[in-house]
């Protein structure tokens, strides 16, 4: 077995109940430790669906998806939460909670129903806070945080799970330049130093091209291209996928796209 292989999705097909077309029509994706893979594609191209199938929330119609060599659907949720941390797209906590308390929730997969937090749990929480630069916010209420701070806290919670795989579903949506850059740099740093792999779903093509090791470009439920950024973000492919005329330039040897004006 490939020792570094964390996520292995092979030719999965998936269709939502009652739908007439496949949400995923034969998608394959591999992710290894130390790798940051960005999942790109237009709205409705199947990015979130692929994440859900890959993590065993939905059963694929065909194909297989495994995590650390075990079929995704066979993982008990608690065991899976010890190896995969997810920052989901949406979450709204209606009850007041402090930052440290929400990060402590990341330790739950490691604790039985009656178990008391151990020293290692407290240490993991403090370490996760520190790794995500939110130690200074630890005693703040969640609802006093800015959007960028809140996302870093949620990443800290996922990190407290001590996962091998970190999955982030559009973590930078509606963040300004500074917070977006901070988040991308944080994710890159975690992948480089924490012995984990990360799957990042994002709409920011240019930052993905600069920070990711590989890009998987989804379009209409199938992969339009996958591989290192320069191989994926070619003009013909990108224009077809995003349905818009683009110019491709290069910055620090990474492709960058600029959407062009289109005459009506």
């Amino acid at each position: 077995m490939d020792r570094g292989l964390i996520l292995d999705v092979q030719d999965v097909r998936f269709r939502y109940p009652g739908a007439t077309t496949d949400a995923l029509g034969g998608v394959s994706l591999e992710l290894r430790s130390g790798e940051l893979v960005a999942l790109l594609g237009p709205n409705g191209s199947g990015k979130t669906t692929l994440v859900r199938v890959a993590l065993g929330l939905h059963a694929p119609l065909s194909g297989r998806t495994s995590i650390l060599g075990r079929t995704a659907r066979d993982w008990p949720r608690r065991d899976l939460a010890r190896v995969v941390g997810v920052v989901a797209q949406r979450e709204d906590n209606l009850f007041p909670q402090r930052v440290r308390d929400t990060v402590r929730l990341g330790r739950y997969p490691h604790l039985g129903p009656w178990a008391v937090e151990r020293e290692e749990d407290r240490a993991a929480v403090e370490r996760a806070l520190e790794r995500c630069d939110v130690t200074g916010l630890a005693d703040r209420w969640l609802w006093t945080l800015s959007g960028g701070e809140y996302q870093r806290v949620r990443i800290a919670r996922a990190l407290a799970q001590q996962p091998r795989l970190l999955v982030l579903d559009e973590p930078t949506a509606s963040l300004d330049v500074r917070h977006e850059m901070e988040l991308f740099q944080l994710i890159r740093r975690l992948v480089d130093t924490e012995d984990l792999g990360a799957l990042l779903v994002t709409h920011d093509v240019n930052l993905a091209a600069r920070f990711a090791d590989r890009i998987a470009l989804l379009c209409g439920g199938t992969l339009a291209a996958a591989g290192p950024p320069p191989a994926v973000l070619r003009q013909d492919v990108a224009e077809a996928v995003f349905g818009w005329p683009l110019a491709i330039s290069s910055f620090e040897d990474r492709p960058q796209i600029t959407p062009l004006r289109r005459d009506r």
Binding site: R77, R78, A81, G85, R90, F95, P96, Q97, Y108, P113
Partner: protein, 313 residues
Amino acid sequence: MKWLAMGAVLVAALAAAIVFGPAHVPFTDLARSPIVWELRLPRALLAVLVGGSLGVAGASLQSLVRNPLADPFLLGLSGGAGLGAVLAIALHLGGPWALPLAAFAGALLALGLVFRLGLVGGAELDPRILLLGGVAVGAFTGAVTTAIVSLAEATELRNAYLWLWGGLSSASWATVRLIGLYIPVPIFVLLAAARPLDLLVLGDESARYLGTEVASTKRRVYLAASLLTAAAVAVAGVIGFVGLIVPHVGRGLVGGRHRALLPASFVIGATLLVLADTLARLAVAPRELPVGIVTALLGVPLFVLLLKRWTAA
């Protein structure tokens, strides 16, 4: 410290419930008085068990439906129990257990209906569907209850009406024993779900990614909290506001983690109901008010205060 203080307040409330009452019992006779042993003590203990149950059920259900305004009766249980009780009164069912059993059966029926609605179309107890189902079942049973009450005779009507506002006057050592044996089971189930409940507050998806088997946890919590409420309503009628207010006070005192919040909600709910019942017995002595009126009169201002604090924040 907080726990000691909460315990001390509960003990003080219990002492007040035993010392004060419409009949004057001299202080020196308290330990031997049959009024204390046969009336006040079992009644105070029943208030502890019922108030505690409503507090725990309220805290669990608020987190389950992710709504700080949820209350154990919001999910249609009070309507079902009311219908059962009014039927028992209208049909002149005899015996000391007829009314509580009928109310319990009615609550179970409503519980089953709402639970079934909550699973329609694979909804897995979606909070919105649960709340809508609870409102629908409540409206339906309310209509039938009113129909029966409108056809009943005057004394029956009064009895039924009073029952619907809750009261602990039927307390006896037998009811205390029964409820004391019954409620530890659902409370244990809820305490065992304390950690998953912390996660459910974040929403189904995040809870799942943090290791919760969401569907089975929700079912367990819903059934345990509802069975707890059903028992409370069967012996004490519909006592509102305890299940709504108590969890908020609890969160303010011990925080949102259910391992602390659930026990705190039991103690606070118990204290609140013991105090409310003592007031209900004393306010218009020798007659007494339905305790649900007192909890509403105390609860509404407290609730307004909480709302003000939220909107200020």
